[in-house]
Amino acid sequence: MRHPSEGVLRRLVDEPAGVTDDDRAHVASCPTCLRALETTRAEARLVDAALATSGSVDTDAAWNRFATTAATAPTRPRAVTAAPRGRWLPAMRRPVVAALSAVVLVTGAGVAAANDWLPIFRTEQVDPIEVTSSELVELPDLSAYGDLEITSEADPQPVADAAAAQERTGLAVPEVSELPEGVTGDPAYQAAGVLSATFTFSAEKAARAAAAAGDVLPPTPAGLDGSQLRLHAGPGVAAVWSQPTGVPTLVVARVGAPTVDSSGVPFETVRDYLLSLPGLPAGLAEQLRDLSADGGTLPLPIPADMVTSSTAAVDGTEATVLTSRDGLFAGVVWVKNGVMTGVAGTLSADELLSVARDLR
């Protein structure tokens, strides 16, 4: 029989009973596997030693400290570490991507742009898993269908305070009148300039993309080949409150809503044609559908399996309210006069709505 995998050997070190009788019998009589097993065992022990720390704890002192803190601690944020099964991690990630990045992330900008923008809302502290994962990058990437040129980088950077953020962007950071329970301290401020990109549709590239998806390109409408879309988003500002461990509890952001305009063919024609293409990634299609010429709609790809969405009135306009299905995360986003404002965090939707409505 084949040699058992390295994973089976590793388990054999810790839990021989968890390995099948066949595998155990094989290893016992196979010199190659026995050597590999011993190496695995020795290396596991070395790593264990490297991870070990010395010292003891004073549980009484720790309890006294805890009892003092707990007695004064607010009830929120409750859930940042409440991960009994770890399943909140992916659930957190999606809403972070959907709500936070959609607050600022640009529809139609390229991979590089997405990576540049993302650090503002990376929130890898909310979600220790890679927030900058490829799924995010694929959303706005139109480069398979033409040439995408970043004409202006957003260059997001931390800034000292709200005044500096305003000076850099011309946008006032919304001021929270009353912090929800559990959100304390001073926020960190971020500011980003305008991100612009030009997308030039290429029938040839689109045909290659279609062929790669095993299909042929639908007939290209007249004038489409070589027509351009100009995409803009920003500037943007954000204030981020975090726990001492770095987990953001509340993010308040304001950003120029993404807009798109076209030269030659109307944007709608380009969009509808792109949507008809075979092999277009679903996420990209959703973003395209939601993109508008006037920046009046929200490019929010909402993962329905993770997030429920509803609407509520904020600042005289209709806001989208997102709540993760596990209830750990929520966001409220709205657009007014071409400016998107978003409030998100490890809080309940009600708390965030009250923050949103009281912004100054």
Binding site: G7, G18, E43, T81, A82, L89
Partner: protein, 170 residues
Amino acid sequence: MQRGRVDVRTDLEEVFRSHYARVVAVAARVLGSRDSAEDVAQEVFLSFGRSSVPADEAGGWLTVAATHTALNLLRSGRRRSAREEAADDAPTVVPDVAELVITREERNSVRAALARLPHRQAAALVLRHSGLSYAEVAAALDLSPGSVGTTVRRAESVLLKELNRHASPE
């Protein structure tokens, strides 16, 4: 929603006292520092105090929560500074295995490698070395039980490169 002061679970002190040392040890595996680990433990118990996790599941829950929280902290780079950790300076000597002396430098590079690992891989490694069974690690991280061994082994291989040496079977 509850407002104001936290409603302390009646079983909190008992759970705290029986699990505190272990939770600190889990976080210290990630952070390499008792002081930072105690900060993490405080936060994890605060979360536990607000949760409705049954007391008999507290051990596993706390271990998983401590692992995630400590890995977050490790990645955020907000650990206490090296000077604050100087008290931890003594090399670790594994009892009964006198030759396994891990220097401070090696411990630091192992932590740096841990911070760079994909979160789930790092978490699997820490949970396993914290004594969770393969089935428990699988459940905590949504891994298939069969893949835990491979995940742990690969994480160990990455860390071993940082140790710049390989253990040889005796």
